[in-house]
Structures are given as structure tokens and as C-alpha cells.
Symmetry: D3
Subunit: 282 residues, 6 copies
């Protein structure tokens, strides 16, 4: 476990893991497990087939415990740490039927979350030294938002808002419906609580100029050119945090970071991260 990382409480993860196991076990349980004698035990190792950042070992632990309360899991490369091919991530000792029944669920969660963490790490490394944060979005898998946002943290990224309820985020449609950036921000200020963050999306320097006097917590610069990002940073002068957004890739993120923006949000972290290939070797 990375020392600065706050783990998710089992209370939030366990329902996801148990539902995933139940989805796989179906109505009859693992019909192939009966091939193996009931009391056989199995020792095995989880290992990555490719380099990556680990996230989600809590899911592995809870999946095993759900099917074999006596299973032990020794973690060698914790969440937020880097796995290398050929070096085991964790060692498991469990009832063979239970382990084989839990294997796919455990790997589905571990691989997926480690995939998110690994992609996040790539973006974070790409901007290293620039001072820009890599930030996620709400483009997460339905049902797994808490876990995927945790995986982003494991990758060194920073979480944007968790849902529609924990910040006011004024987007183009809200601006259009209220009549302008200034009108929308005026209204937002009026309805926001003393601790409610306000962010506004702007599509150009003119909208940025309208937004700045309201000192929202963050201004999102949507699809700005590199030149406009530089100008935006200069105009803002550190008064408000700036978040660059829109079509960011690993190829473009460094240049964006070097414009001096505070944060860069990347939907792909959660909507398109390929799974990290992790296997269980007996």
C-alpha cells in the first residue's frame, strides 16, 4: 500500500465483490468445481504479464474470503505500487474449489482497476515536473465509480467530483439556458452553500474573461488550443485554478501541462483503459 493512499472501506467494496461473485456463480454455483476433491488446497500466485500499477487487491481479498473464509492472501506488491512481469503480486493459499471459483471475479476486478491505475500512471509520468495534476471525470463504469476513482488515486491521479451532487459544474448547456457565463455564475453563487465548490466550463478567452471576476474554484478550459491555454494562464494570473479538458491524449498531455494549467482532465482514464493482464499461476 502506497503510504499516502486512503484505502476504500470494505463496507463499500464488499457489496460489489459479492454481487460480482453471485453474477458468476449463477443459480447452481461452479459446476466444474466438483471435479476437484472437496478438501484439496491450492497455493498460487497472482502475477502481471506486463508492467503496470496495481489497484484493487482489496477485491481479491474479499472475493477469496467470500468463498473460503480460511484463505490467506500475502500481498507483495500493494495498491499504488508497480508490478513487473515475472515478480508475483500476491500469494494465495486457499481451498482449491473456492480459489478456482473466485479466480475470474478477482482477476476481472484486479485487472480492470490496475488497468485504470496503469493508464493514469502513464499520464502522470508524462507531465512529471510540470506541476499539473491529472484528473479523472464522471465517465466511469456504472456501478464501479468509487472503485475506479480509487484506482485513479492509485495511479497518482486526482479525483474530480464524484457525482452530480458534490460540486456545481456549469457546462455549455447551462450557460446557454441561463443566458451567459456571467448570468450562470451569478445564479450559481446564489444557490451554492458555503462549502460547495463551483466550476465553470468556458469555450474561449472571452468566456474566461467573463468568468474570472466571479472567482469560481475552478475554470475548465474546454478544447483550448495550446496558444489559448498559454494566454488563459497569463490572464488568470493564479487567481483561479485552471483545468484543461477535451481530447487529451498521451501524445498531447505534456505540451498542455507545460502551458501552466493546474489540472488536466482525461476521460480515457476510466472509459477506455485496457485491462492490465494479470494471471493466477498455480
Amino acid at each position: 500500500m502506497n503510504s499516502e493512499l486512503q484505502p476504500l472501506p470494505d463496507l463499500l467494496v464488499e457489496p460489489v465483490v459479492r454481487a460480482a461473485l453471485a453474477e458468476d456463480l449463477g443459480r447452481a454455483g461452479d459446476v466444474t468445481a466438483a471435479l476437484i476433491d472437496a478438501d484439496v488446497r491450492l497455493k498460487a500466485e497472482f502475477a502481471a504479464r506486463q508492467p503496470g500499477r496495481i489497484a484493487g487487491l482489496v477485491c481479491v481479498r474479499l472475493a477469496l474470503a467470500a468463498l473460503d473464509p480460511a484463505a490467506t492472501l500475502e500481498i507483495l506488491v500493494g495498491d499504488g505500487q508497480d508490478a513487473e512481469p515475472g515478480r508475483p503480486i500476491a500469494r494465495v493459499d486457499a481451498n482449491a474449489r473456492a480459489l478456482l471459483s473466485a479466480e475470474r471475479t478477482a482477476l476481472n476486478l484486479l485487472g480492470r482497476l490496475s488497468g485504470v491505475a496503469t493508464l493514469t500512471r502513464a499520464y502522470v509520468q508524462a507531465v512529471a515536473g510540470t506541476g499539473a495534476m491529472i484528473v479523472d471525470t464522471r465517465k466511469t463504469t456504472p456501478g464501479l465509480r468509487a472503485l475506479e476513482k480509487y484506482a485513479v488515486r492509485c495511479g497518482g491521479g486526482v479525483n474530480h467530483r464524484f457525482g452530480l451532487d458534490d460540486a456545481i459544474l456549469i457546462k455549455d448547456n447551462h450557460v446557454a439556458a441561463t443566458g451567459g457565463v456571467a448570468e450562470a455564475l451569478t445564479r450559481a453563487k446564489a444557490i451554492a452553500g458555503h462549502l460547495t465548490p463551483i466550476e465553470v466550463e468556458v469555450d474561449g478567452l472571452d468566456q474566461l474573461e467573463q468568468a474570472l471576476p466571479f472567482a469560481p474554484n475552478v475554470i475548465m478550459l474546454d478544447n483550448f488550443s495550446l496558444g489559448d491555454l498559454v494566454r488563459a494562464v497569463a490572464m488568470t494570473g493564479g487567481r483561479v485554478r485552471l483545468e484543461a479538458s477535451g481530447g487529451v491524449t498521451l501524445d498531447t498531455v505534456r505540451a498542455i501541462a507545460e502551458t501552466g494549467v493546474d489540472a488536466i482532465s482525461v476521460g480515457a482514464l476510466t472509459h477506455s483503459a485496457p485491462v492490465l493482464d494479470i494471471g493466477l499461476d498455480a
Copy 2:
């Protein structure tokens, strides 16, 4: 809707959609929605930004209906059909607050499932004319298996088993634990019901030879070279269905299909499909 496609019943989809909306709405609902007057209506179009195969419009319909029962959704490109950039997939007319609150959940599901369908379509097209089926795996997103397997069908693919309970699938660990392919298949035949399918994974031609006399429903050829696949097809002579598996990519799938195997299973269909970029334009 593709005419041969059996849709998922709302009964199975609705809990997923409502849980996804609740995950996004959190404890306070959409705090930004209050910027817009309560009775404003909005017409908008869902449109793909890139070519792809559509899957998941039922999620869009149910997400909208959950927040605005009076919303209407006109579908122009149905599940299992192909979207082109610039041509709308569906037209929506709904309360503005409801539409903006439902937008992200609807797009998260539609984009993800269409991503699966689009990747499946690519594999299916790559093997066109060979007679090989493209088959999915259990490497699905926890909680979304029914939906993602439906998306595979929308892409023209075929579903492998849905869980641990609807077929006996003998893998290497089961073979090891029972003492050999023949022993495992003997035991499987003894415990299988009259309608339970049996599949066995073999890692070489020698294991294939041991398996063939048992006439399981399917034999999975795991990580076979192209040469061995050709030999396996010849040895089998159509007596048992053969499924190639292991590290299949879009670059290799055609050659595999041309060996004459019946099915090719591809984990990436569900574990690493990038989202299809679909947006909502007001």
C-alpha cells in the same frame, strides 16, 4: 434493432440503470440543474463522433424515463446497426433538467456497450467468410455481464457461457487436480446432466487426442500455433467443435479463422474495448 437480435428485458436492465443514476445523483441530486428553470424543455440528438456499432439504447430510454417519464426518444440507428459520424442515432425531447442529469449515465452505458459492439464487429468482419464464430469470455465488467454479452451479440459475436453454472469447462487446473484430460472428462461425464454442455481446454495435440474420444461439446485449443491449429482441425474431422483461444488480436484473428476452427474466443471484446465516442448535441 437488428431483426435477429433478442433484446434484453427491461426487468434486467432497469436495476442497472437506476443504480447508475443513483450513483451519479448521490445524496443531493444534480446541484447544477437548479440553474435552469424547472419547466424548460430541451430537444437534442445523440450522435457518434466516430463510426461504430450501436448497443445499449435501452439504457438511454430507461435513464431518461427514470428522470422524466414524459421524455420521448426516437431511435434512428438501433442496437445492432451501424452509426456514422454526423448522422444522429436518436432524437430526444425531454425536460432540460432531467436530460442534463441523465446525460452522463446514458452516455456512459451507451458508449461502453457500443464500444464492445464495435470491437466485436471488427473481429467478426476480420473473419468474414471463414465460417468461424467470434466468441466472448467471462472477462466482463462486474455487474454488467448481461449487458456486455448482449453488446457482443449486437456486434455479431456469439456468447460463450454466462457463468460458472451453465457449462462444465475443464481448464488446466482442473486437469492437473484430477490427474489428466481423460480422468477429468470421465468425471465430468459422470456428473453432467443430460443437457449440460462440456468443454475441455487442451494445451497441445496430445491432450487433444486424449479428449476426442469423449466427444465433449467443445474442445478449446489454448495458445496453439497456426500449424497445430491446422493439425487439430484435421485430427478432429468435424466430430467436435473446436474453439481457438489465447492472445488473439485483430492482426492474428483472420489467420486463425482460416485454419478451420469453429470458434475463436476473444477476452478483449469485453475487457479492453475502448468506449465509442458518442455525444449529446442540444
Copy 3:
């Protein structure tokens, strides 16, 4: 526990048991329990009042554990084994309040599942030596399908499909709607995955003749006379598995089995099995 029997995972049984306890405890818990001092312990034995096959001890264990985690249950006659009156099935040592509160739930599940196993055993014994399997149906108690199908296995029976999703089963209405047995089977072959079993119900020898060339996994002979069953077995010549179905009773099952069919499905196993009378004696 019968050595060949694959138990149901606690993960699938626990929600049923806990819901059953909650249904019985209502909003105030067991108001009679307060008559007994809080720390009294009770030793007691579960015993059958009539001969039968046991199924469902996992429910007893989980019901006790839910109300007294320190309760111990020593199983003397396991699931899939035969109980005789006057010989205890299991010994329990538990907090008296907890035991009396859990008693009815435990017995309701144990008696009901053992009733299913006992009736199944009777059918299995009636066809002993014929080679015919006794098979269940989907005529199960809503909410208890996994448990009742497990009880059928405890009784020596074989499970038919678990639901609408794990096999194509073409019944008379499907035949009528598609235009004939051949048309229905043609369509089924086209939509079935490489591992999806196909069964077709036929109502006479002419339909059997139409079905045979399609080599479905199973053909169900619905309400055939004994003479027609014999003819069907001869016509089929072992190419396809045959399942006799319709109005089977303990009086008729042996004769049906002797026709040479592979399987006989009996709805009564789960829809009309009387409870096995089991009591708890302090």
C-alpha cells in the same frame, strides 16, 4: 455430505436464510424469547420423524450462525444421505433464545428441501438399473430454485436447465409460432452459440422424425404412450438423447424408464413434494 455432491456456496444460500429469518422476526424480533434468561444455553438434536433423504443442512448452519455466531452444529447425517426415524441428523449447542428463534426457519428450509430430496430418491430408486435419469423442471418455488435444484441432486436426480437463459427449449407454442418443428430447429441452430444446448419438445413420432436430422442435444417426448416411447427409442438409435415428460408418477415411471429413454422429467419433484417431517428435540 455425499462425496460426489457439489455443495452450494454460502454466498448463494445466506441471503435466502437471512431473508427468511427477517421474515419471521418481523419488526420486534421474537417476543417470546424474553421468557428465557439471556444466557441460557440449549443442546438439542434435529431428528426425522419419518425415513427420508436429507438436504439443506447448510440452511440450518447459517440460520443458527446468524442469531448465535458461537453456536455449534455437529452433522451426523449429511446432505445426500438417508435419515431414519429415531437417529439424530445433527446435534446443536446454542444460546437458548437464539436456537428457539431460529428453529422454525431452519426447519422450514430443511424439511422442504429434504422433502424434495426424498421424493426425488423415490423416483430414482423406482428406475434403478434402467439407465434412465430422473430430471427436474422449472416448476420450482419462486426464490428457491437454486436450493430446490440442489435438493434434487441430493436425491440422486439430475438438473434440467436452470432458467430461460441457459438452453434453447422449443415448446409447442414456439413450434406453432414458427411454422413447424423443422422451421423452429433451423432458426434455433442459427441463433445458438457454439456451446448453447438445444432441446425440442415433440408431441408424436412424426414430429420426432422431423427433429432427428437436426441432431438437437435432447428431444423431449411429451405425453407419449409407452408404445410410442419404445418406437421413438428405436427410431432414434442413440443419435440424440430422449427425455420423456408429462404426467409421470411413481406408479408409471418404471415402465417409462424401461422403454430405454435417457431421461424422465418430473415436475412434482419440486412443485408437490410434501415436507419431510423433521423436529428439534431439546
Copy 4:
């Protein structure tokens, strides 16, 4: 609908029906339904194959509505009314796929509940004119208690307590643990609320004598001989309601009723009622 019968609110029945449908639909839905064109409609009739008392049409209505909101159900023989073979109970007009997918769930619930009602009716008719009520027990199917107790009412029976929380029922173990009938009743009176009913089980006339001075709401005469029942009724002189219990059958119930007891509880009503054979004819 019998005019005196209070129906169960949909709110309580709907979760049972939807869970039952989901249990049957599994992860892929009805894979056979795809054989039928999506827009075919089907008219059909529910009809009993044997005489019986109907209970549970609400389940049929809700199962159909869940899969086809436009389905119509015309009820000809309502809950609490008597069905005769050859006369339809209800007529349905629905989408063919939806109707065939819902059929088994609807029949499982309707047949089971009508089975309970039919058996209850037999007991009620057997005691006609005696003044004795036929009463159910807590020996119900886990998860279906509310529905099965409703079916008892449809059969003309009377409900005993619904769970451990709505009456103090002192059984032999409670008597043993507290030191005697009088001690147990003293304690019960002390803890009972002003509206909490108290019932005590006695195993002989001597215990009855001890119980009478406490004037509990009901005294249960457990396994009394007919002679002792007569004596008990005489001793009680109408001061307290008397409930006969233990091993009651259709053969013995009339004689028990003629002893003058107020109520006779019969576990078999819910734990061993055979299903009423009801079919759906297209």
C-alpha cells in the same frame, strides 16, 4: 375476488414476482423467445386441469405487466373463487415473447398459491357447521409467507400469527426453561403490551388447568386425544379460546372440530399442499 377478502397490496407482491422473473430470466433472458417474431401477439387462457380454489391472480397480472406493460388480463374466476376444469380462469392478450417468458413464473405462483387455497378449502369444508376455524402456522415457504397466508384466507382459513413478533406463543421449550406453565404465563403477562396477544401450548389437562386462571387469549391443546379435547372444552367453559394442534389430517379434522374447540391449526396447509394443476392454453 371474494367480497370479504382483503387483497395484498401490489407493493408487497411486486418484489416477489420481479425476483421470480429475474431468477428465471437469468443473465441472458429467454433465449428461446427469439424464435418468435418480436411483434407477434398471443391470446391465451389460464385454465385448471382439476377442481380447486384460486389464489394468486395478482401474481399473474404483475408478471405479465413486468414483461409487457400493454398486456391485458381478464379475470373470470377470481381469488377466493372455485375453478372447474374446462372453464377458463382468466384470458390474457399479450406480446407472444413476453407471455411465453412470463408463463412459468406466473404458473408457479398461481399453482402453488391455489394449491394452498384448495387444501385449505378441503379442511374448511370438512368442518363445515361445527364452528371451528381452520388456522395456518408459520410452516410456510421462506420468502412467501405473506402470499401463502393470503392463500389460506382465499381458502376460507384464518391466519395464525405472522411471525415471532406479533404474539407471545409459549411452547414446551419455554415452559421447560421458565419452570412451568404458571411461571411462564406470569412472566408473559409481565412483558406483554396492552395489545399483545398471548397463547400458551399445553400438553395435557393438568397444564390446561394451570393455564386457565391466567386467561391468555388462546390455549393450544397439543396432540390431545379426542377424549381430552372434549374434557378441555368442558373445563374451559368458553372463558378462553382453544386451538387444537398436532398431526391433524383431513381424516381426523371433523372429529376434532366436533369436540367444540374454537380453532384447529394445520401445518400441511402451507408445508405440503400439492400444486393446483393450472395450464396456459394458447
Copy 5:
């Protein structure tokens, strides 16, 4: 723990506590907890800031256990006992992050339930020696009825019915709809089971006179003057239990009790009890 008090089973309390924790932890868990090192342990005491009756320590125990299974809780002042300011109620030793994350949920439940118990105690003490019971109502917090009714018992009060299903309670609207007190009671007697309690609400002595011959279990005297209460007690002569109801306060309850009624129901016990101020001191 008060020796006569029947505790609520964990099975009923745990879902409430876990839902409350999940409501507080939201999607990311306790983001402030990360300020504290992961392995710091904390000893602390729960103490009341004002005198009161304790109820709900089971919630504290379960909340702690949910976040730290190794936490220990030593109870010094149990449910149903009286707390004094400055004397600890319970001592806890737990992981610091877990304790601080669980603190608010534990206190919300403990304070609220102890508030109900404390207010109940005040009413019970006010009528001490009169023989009148203090009775609660169905005016409870949605979702917490079982817990709040338990808290009433901790305060020395008695529970009225738990819901709409465990007693017939004829109120003014029922009387109006059926045509009179006598008509309503006649109908109630006809539909009630042998163990179903019947209570009727009357609004004056004339209605009381109509109700008495039916000997319901309880008659509720709604908003009677003290004089009418005295007259009602005299008219009834102990034949039926009398419950006074309507606008009862701590100022008026003693005089009401002295009229000789058996029970006094007080909605405020659960709908308006101020929280008992309890804190956690490290």
C-alpha cells in the same frame, strides 16, 4: 442491559447500521481520515453531556465492527440503564481512522434512540404508581420503527402495534365508512383471526357505550376530557382495557393516568424526542 429487556437481534439492526455508514461514507469514504496514519489506534469514551436513559449501544457496536472488526467496546451503562453526565457509558479501543469514520453514525443512532428512551422514561416516571402504561404509536421515523420501538421499551414504555398488519384498529374514518361503531366492530369480529387483537377508537361516552358489548381487546378514548375519562373508567368496570390518547404532554399525563385508564399513548415519544447529547471523548 436491563435484565427484562429483550434485545433486538443483530440481524435486524445490522442492515440499518451498514446503510447509515454507507450513507455517510458516500462514494469515496472518509477523505479526512487519510490525515491520520493507517495504524494509529485510539482509546475513547462515549459519555452523555446530560442525564438520560441509554438505548442503542448495539448500533455503536455494529458500526465499529463494520469498519474495524478488531475494535473492542466495553459497555458500562447498558441499554435501559441511566447515564449521568461525567460518567462514561462505554469505552472503545479501535483503529483511529475507523473510529473517527464511524463516530457520527454511531452517535446519530445512539443519541436519537437514547433521546426516545429518555423522553419515554420521563413519561413513565410521571405516572409512577398509577398503574397506567405509557404506550407508543406508529408515528416513528421511516426505516427506524423497530429500533425506536425498542428504545421505547428501554425507557420503560410499552409498544402499541408495530404496523398496519398486527391488529385491527378501527379509527374514526373506518367508523364513518362502515356506518357506526357497532357496525364496524361487527365487521371486525367477522374478519379477525382467533389471535388478532381488535382495538376501536371512540370519540365520546356514547360511542364507548356502543363499543363495550363487543368486548374488543382495547378501546381508545380519543381526546376525552379528564371528567369523561373518569366516567369511561367507571362505565367500563375493567371489562376492557382503556387507552387514553390525543395531545398528551408531560404536564397532563399524570392527571390522565390518575383517572384509572390502563394505557396512555404518546406520539411525541418517537416523533419529537430531542436527541440525547452524547459525545465521544478521546
Copy 6:
């Protein structure tokens, strides 16, 4: 409906309402409802018996709809508006059985939420003209946080954070565990996302002085004297929002507001608000 008030989506409220109804209906439904003929309709009015601020009519609407989909509810005094005794809040026309069964659940929610709104209004009016916001806390009823925080908004109050996850709030225990206000804030700044609000609780002017250079979003002045509040406001000079907290009452709130703090948090709004007395008059 107050024009600036964002209503809670039905999606979030419906599960609470349905669970509350199910809690009240129990296992048998409303056994008294059978006294009334099944097709009787009833018109009635909801009216407050005392002046107050209304909140929670959505619960009334959903409770009625759950039991009678054809019920109509005409709202005369909406959420966030003021009710006066004798003037109806809403008119209902519904099936009589359904209305009487839903009445208590509807009133429990409406009365409780209106109680919160009414108490909030009192605090808001007490500080009118000072510029101070009245803010709630996490001292809410488990399971009802979203509803009670909505009621605070109906009363004119402002919501503090919704849970442990949407802001870093450094309390005394966190300060103690990290070694001081400065250390805690340094660590908080390091772990906070770009949009995560930070609040710190200080117990005196010296801690305030340490906190100010970190410019957290809010500083909570815990149990400050009026004099110290004045000094704190002066020291802060508008650079950071100040929230007064601790033992605030209606008697003291005005003086606190006049010190110039930005917000005053009041736990009593949700933990001790007496119910608003609302009745249903037929």
C-alpha cells in the same frame, strides 16, 4: 414549490417511501382496511394544526401513488412555502383503503421534514439581515440524510457537506493525531484534489492564526465566545469564510450572527426538530 428550490428526484425518494410503506404494511397489509368496501373513494385535505414551513410533499405523492396509482394530489402550499392552521396544504382524492393505508407513512415523512424546515426557518428568520447563513450538519437521521438536508433547504438554510467524502473537514482529533493545525492543513493540502473543499475546526484564536495562512475554504470556530468571534472576524478580514459552531440556540444565534461570521451551523435543525403537526381531514 419555492422557485429557487431544486427538488429531489423521485429516483432518490421513492425507495425511502416504499420501504416506509412496507415497514408499516408488514406481512399482511392493512388488516383494518377490509372494513371499508373495496371501491369507496375518499376526498380529504392535509392541513397543519400549527404554523410552519412545508417540506416533503413529494413523499405524500409517492406514498399515495404506490397504493393507488389513480390517486390525485392537488398541492396548495408547496415545499418551501408557509402553512397556516386552517388552510389546507393539499387536497387528495383516492381509493379509501389506499388512502387510509398510506396516511401514516405520508404524515410521518411530511411532518418530520416540515418540522426540520420549520425549525430551520426560525433560525434563518432570527439572523435576517445579518448576512450569516444557517447551515446544517451530519447529525441527521440515518437513512434520511438526503431528505432532511432538502428540508433544511426548504427552510431557507444551507447544506454543509453531505458525508465524509465530499470535503476534508479537519476536527480536533485530526489535529491531535497529526501534531497541530499547521501540520494537518499541510497534509490536507497535499492530498486534496483541485476541487476538494477544505475546512478546519479551530478551538481558539491561536489556532485560527495558524490556520489563516493556509487559506482553507472555511474555518470553523468551535465554541468561541462572542468576543472571540468578533476578534476572529477582524483577524480574518474576509480572506476565509468563517463558520461558528457549538451549542447554538435560537436565543443565541442572532448575537452570533452579528459578529460577522459567514455561517452558523446548527445540529438541532436535524437532530432535535419537533414534528410539525399535520393531519389528514376527510
